[in-house]
Symmetry: C2
Subunit: 769 residues, 2 copies
């Protein structure tokens, strides 16, 4: 990818660019706006701080002889197999994601538990420096392992993964984002990262993991290992893969939060860009499987067979013990909580964005620098976690505590730390715990005085800042837990302040604080609401949680976008928004069509095709039928680069300029035309065309999509964008309004709708209403 | 509407058909398939057993000088007003629906409570015949009132209303379905119907009520009462109305079940055909408002100020007292429950369909017959409710009963009926109660032996049959409650049978039975799951409820469609399915374009337009620019009947064939072009065109949609259907593939995609795979 940096590439080098990179190339080289485009770099995805090419996905159903033949050849039994397999895949995704979720939790609880036990033991012997050395050492070792995995094996595994999944489901495939190596690093990197005590969650990574599993399953067998069935080719298209990955994302949330309904809603509200009722049902099935797997294992683990994995694992904060009563002052307090939570949430987004931009510059300097950054943040986290509790004063244990106090267990509320017997250190109970346990402590009900206001304040500031500077380093890092952690601490703080006038338990305030932060950063509504209710098992809080979410989302939206949208933008992924920008109303489709259009004849010379494939990066070429095949030039269809490569590879050539018809299909298996997985398709170098074959002809009719969606050149760009987005297109043909002109004006792709492109062409249009 | 019955209408009569009816007319008269079409009658909606015209809605954004001018004239402050108003409307919809929900509940509880108290008092005095007379008399009076309201004021208010709302949100506006009179009858008819002891619910009617309220608000002021602001015209389009009505439907469910999240999901999964993330948020806000209104009133009523409205009102079945424990035998029992529930549910659908077909024939005979049918069903229901409890033997009161036994209250578990003191009649506890209370009794936990198996069986059979024969009579009747009632009885029955091997409480079995029936009839998944959880306030049942819903939906789908889809089909509403039928792949767009195409020139003679408007029922006319306005004939755009009528009314004519440009807009206010509410638009009779004006010219350019979505004639019908459905179109232009032909081949409307139309043209294509 370093090639991209030197924009002065010559023709010879260009030929080496493979099919996959071509779309990026296309945007940079084939258009007149060379310099502007390279400067914005918006067309190149920055995934895990690595510049990475992106490929657009195509959800259009092509129509041609090939597809018709394929359709005719389907037997009823195959259609049945297809339906059965869809559900089998959903089952497998649910099962695997559930198992990975369990594995992840058991591993984290055991590793982090061991670390905390060691530290606590040394503390009890008053060997404070040794305890710090052990604590920080463990953290450092785990952090370095996670960073090394990320830096050397799969840079794409860094970060949350939700923005990338969101972009994929919008039709942008950033290379390697769903590769097996990413999956591997995501699972283990997440375990090490969370166990290392970072203020990161395993929820985002679980969503990414679920999507990776789904993507692997969706590859439709492996030709390398001869694991390909003829009817598996029905899955070899972007639509079916999209459906599977939606299921995977939902399964990830379900496994992370033990929230099956929340998972479905998350996939629906945040992840997916297209949705249909049938998919809702399949997603629901997947998350139901996850829920059953989790429940089975938790029952198994409750007998003590999972090591230190006990109550602590698999977050579930039962707050149903608290009585939900509230009156007008409470509601006012809750509204205030929502307002401030929304502001703090959007500030969080702003700071994360700034930090991320800084880190992406740092991380570009190589793997060693990446790891160094992780080490620095790990040390800082260890110092905060171990050092700040010394600021807290020891509190005498409450007489009526239901759990033992002080507590020397792995999890639990009352950590003794440096305190004398019968006392506990409230800050240590928060800092020297896993994040899940810290949240559980913050949400604990009927324990009003457990945490000092000053301790809550210190913890809040520390977690808020650590969360911001941790996201973006080279480890898999979810955003949910840091936000919930900071939010619940903030909520409890507010609860303590409103204690004199409020009837609501501080534990419930804590929940509402978490909701306000989530609403302020993530900007989801229904899915967050359901996830929180499923997490806390208390439906009576529903009206208040809804209220807080609505307020904080509204407040947040006044300042900036949701954190995932921000990251998608920062990474330069060409995301298609649901609504066109207002200024698009003032442009027509023809206005943004740029660059020379390369078209093929219905029966085209091999040499011309090869030349076009080599010298442009276009992925779609219009095919024009001309006399003698038609009376006047007419648009026959659109042919894709990937299909052309297969056709050339199959050498279905003829000496004369004649229609080949179905002869092509007899030469090349339909299976070869099925879409390969990310980056696995044929490349230009794989072709072996002899010099004498350059003058032969090839019939493009069987493989061209004969009915691409078209718009008239005078349609407003806004209206064209709606068509493009709603139908999930990759190419859209712009046709002339009047007759007697060439039958196609140009092709619009996803990039042509990006604000950077349009504002590059018409800088002043932004200010038009 | 009787006009439709005589298919031998002559030309003169045809001219009287107003704009609103024209689409139906179009389908019947303007196409060559006259007889076939009249026979299938699929294009005419049978709403409340009345034949009723339908109008297609148009979600396409038109583009022309008019719209551009309108857009340019918008100030920032107006856009802000627009956004603010959207939220204000959502607030108002939430408030009003919540208030109606409360009013409905209070009225039902008081009326039904009075009736039941009277009966119980007479029973206690052993005046059994008098008791029956009082009971049946009250029922009869209430039933007749409901039927009279329905038959004379608003026939469209009969039935559930959910199918019609679903069809509206799909783009089919059945006239008067959302009219104010329908709203009025829906509210009061529903109160009388439910209080009359019918096996009907108030949930479907609440959804319809919510939608009616939203529709009223969405009319954008009233010109009649001079309540129109200039900027309110921004709401005068189908898109914004659709959004409001989606919010209304969600608010209805939220008010009916006190399930705000379930309401959002219901709107999403079942009601809406199009969805966007922004709408999710607005819907969520609406249901949150409903939840808050309900909570406020329930707190108010808990002080006893609402008469007999006590615990009984506003269904909420708290089953959290039961311990949720289950093991393998329970799971097997639950699976069996789901399988049988799914089969019984689909049988229910089948029988409802048959009964509905019979009733629609009976109901056609006039209002008196309608009312007679209601009276008969009411008598039958009274006889069952009062007669069947005599079959039950008296059971001694349990010693540990937490509630008083026998119970003489309005609601409650242990009805004494004819039993001696210290005994209760279990069947009477189910029959002589409101439906809500009967469900509460069936779901009651920790009361295993309360109901005899034989009693449960009798009640199940009675309710199952009564539910089927009640739906379709001329009263507002929801389907949710009958299904939940039969389902929970069936579940409790299964629970009793599995008692020896199961650990699960029979109350929980009852809940699962309700879930299985709901899944088997309604075929929803996530929304039912959430509604049931919100109703019962027990998240621990989630995995089992999910399991049962998945199984019963799968079982049901094997036999027939969901009940609402069935009713939509039965009513002949031209619903666009999300997926095209398989045989559409074998047809191309040109194949289904039928009938003569009427086009206008860009500057057209007034006489020609009037002639076309009078003699065809088309709603959209292509406008072709011809020399001298262009070099060759080209498609200028599509003009709508409603816009033409406004233009003719404004008399923007000129003597010469010249472009008028913006002069038209100076003559006619933009406000006049805004879409009026259902059936309120200009009609042909409103025009007053003089004979001499017939030869004048009118410029159609400013009002024609200059960029209609087009498809090429060779595109497969399946692919064209996807475009039509995804973008919510009303008209789609089919353009020729080759040049040198007229620039438009024909127009496709929603009706052209209906299976009846296609299979009428190509009867044998159904069997092609």
């Amino acid at each position: 990818m370093q090639k991209l940096d030197s924009s002065m590439m010559d023709f010879e080098e260009r030929l080496e660019i493979d099919d996959f990179e071509s779309e990026v190339m296309e945007r940079i080289y084939s258009k007149p706006l060379l310099i502007k485009r390279v400067n914005t770099t918006s067309q190149i995805a920055i995934v895990g701080a690595n510049v990475c090419p992106v490929e657009s996905l195509d959800y259009e159903v092509p129509e041609n002889e090939l597809v018709n033949e394929d359709w005719r050849s389907r037997r009823t039994v195959q259609i049945f197999q297809y339906i059965l397999l869809k559900w089998a895949f959903a089952l497998i995704i649910g099962l695997s994601t559930g198992l990975v979720g369990i594995f992840n939790n058991i591993a984290v609880e055991n590793i982090a538990g061991f670390k905390l036990l060691l530290t606590t033991e040394l503390m009890l012997k008053h060997k404070y420096y040794k305890a710090f050395a052990a604590y920080a050492g463990c953290n450092l070792g785990l952090a370095t392992s996670a960073a090394a995995l990320c830096a050397f094996i799969a840079p794409a595994a860094a970060g949350s993964g939700i923005p990338e999944v969101k972009a994929y489901l919008n039709g942008v495939d950033a290379y390697s984002i769903l590769a097996p190596s990413t999956l591997f690093v995501k699972i283990f990197g997440s375990i090490f990262g969370v166990a290392a005590g970072f203020v990161v969650g395993k929820e985002g990574p679980m969503v990414h993991t679920g999507s990776c599993i789904a993507s692997l399953i969706g590859q439709g067998g492996s030709r390398k290992y001869h694991l390909t069935w003829r009817w598996l080719r029905y899955f070899k298209n972007d639509r079916d893969r999209r459906d599977l990955i939606t299921c995977g994302a939902a399964a990830g949330v379900a496994a992370a939060f033990r929230a099956p309904v929340g998972g479905v809603l998350f996939a629906l509200e945040e992840a997916a860009s297209w949705w249909r009722s049938a998919l809702l049902w399949r997603t629901f099935f997947t998350t139901a499987v996850v829920a059953i797997v989790l429940r089975g294992f938790i029952q198994l683990c409750s007998t003590g067979t999972c090591g230190l994995f006990g109550q602590g694992g698999l977050i579930m904060y039962d707050i149903s013990a608290a009585k939900v009563v509230y009156s007008t002052p409470d509601i006012l307090a809750v509204i205030l909580l929502g307002v401030i939570g929304g502001i703090l949430g959007s500030l969080y987004n702003y700071l994360v964005d700034k930090v991320l931009r800084t880190y992406s510059i740092i991380n570009e300097r190589g793997a060693a620098v990446k790891i160094l950054l992780v080490i620095m943040i790990s040390l800082l986290t260890s110092i905060c976690s171990y050092g700040l509790p010394w600021l807290a004063t020891c509190i005498p244990c409450p007489a009526d505590a239901s759990t033992s106090c002080p507590n020397t267990d792995v999890s639990g509320n009352y950590k003794s730390f440096q305190c004398p017997p019968g006392h506990y250190n409230d800050l240590a109970s928060l800092f020297l715990n896993t994040n899940d346990d810290a949240i559980r402590n913050l949400l604990s009900t009927n324990t009003v005085k457990e945490f000092h206001i000053s301790s809550l304040f210190i913890f809040f500031v520390a977690v808020y800042c650590l969360g911001i500077i941790t996201y973006g380093i080279a480890i898999p890092s979810g955003l949910f837990i840091p936000v919930i952690l900071a939010g619940s601490c903030y909520g409890r703080l507010v609860g303590r302040l409103f204690e004199p006038i409020s009837e609501l338990d501080v534990g419930l305030f804590s929940l509402l604080g978490a909701a306000s932060f989530l609403g302020g950063t993530m900007r989801m509504t229904v899915s967050l609401c359901v996830i929180l209710l499923e997490l806390t098992n208390d439906l009576l809080m529903l009206p208040l949680v809804m209220l807080v979410l609505l307020i904080s989302k509204t407040m947040g939206d006044m300042f900036n976008k949701g954190v995932y949208d921000q990251i998608v933008k920062l990474k330069g992924l060409p995301y298609m928004e649901a609504h066109p920008e207002p200024y698009m109303k003032h442009l027509i489709a023809r206005d943004v069509v740029t660059g020379p259009l390369i078209t093929f004849s219905g029966v085209e010379k091999v040499g011309n095709i090869l030349h076009a494939l080599k010298n442009t990066g276009h992925n779609g070429f219009p095919v024009i039928d001309e006399p003698p095949f038609s009376d006047a030039p007419e648009l026959c269809g659109l042919v894709l680069r990937s299909k052309l490569l297969v056709l050339l590879k199959g050498k279905a050539f003829s000496k004369d300029m004649v229609l080949a018809g179905n002869k092509v299909l007899s030469k090349i298996s339909e299976l070869d035309f099925a879409k390969a997985g990310s980056g696995k398709g044929l490349k230009l170098e794989d072709l072996d065309i002899q010099e004498e074959e350059w003058d032969m002809y090839v019939d493009l009719h069987p493989i061209a999509n004969t009915s691409p969606y078209t718009v008239v050149e005078t349609m407003s760009l806004a209206k064209a964008a709606v068509l493009f987005r709603e139908l999930g297109l990759r190419h859209m043909c712009v046709v002339p309004k009047s007759q007697g002109r060439p039958p196609i004006v140009g092709i619009l792709t996803r990039h042509d709708f990006q604000p950077e492109h349009i504002l590059g062409l018409y800088p002043h249009i932004r200010f038009q209403q």
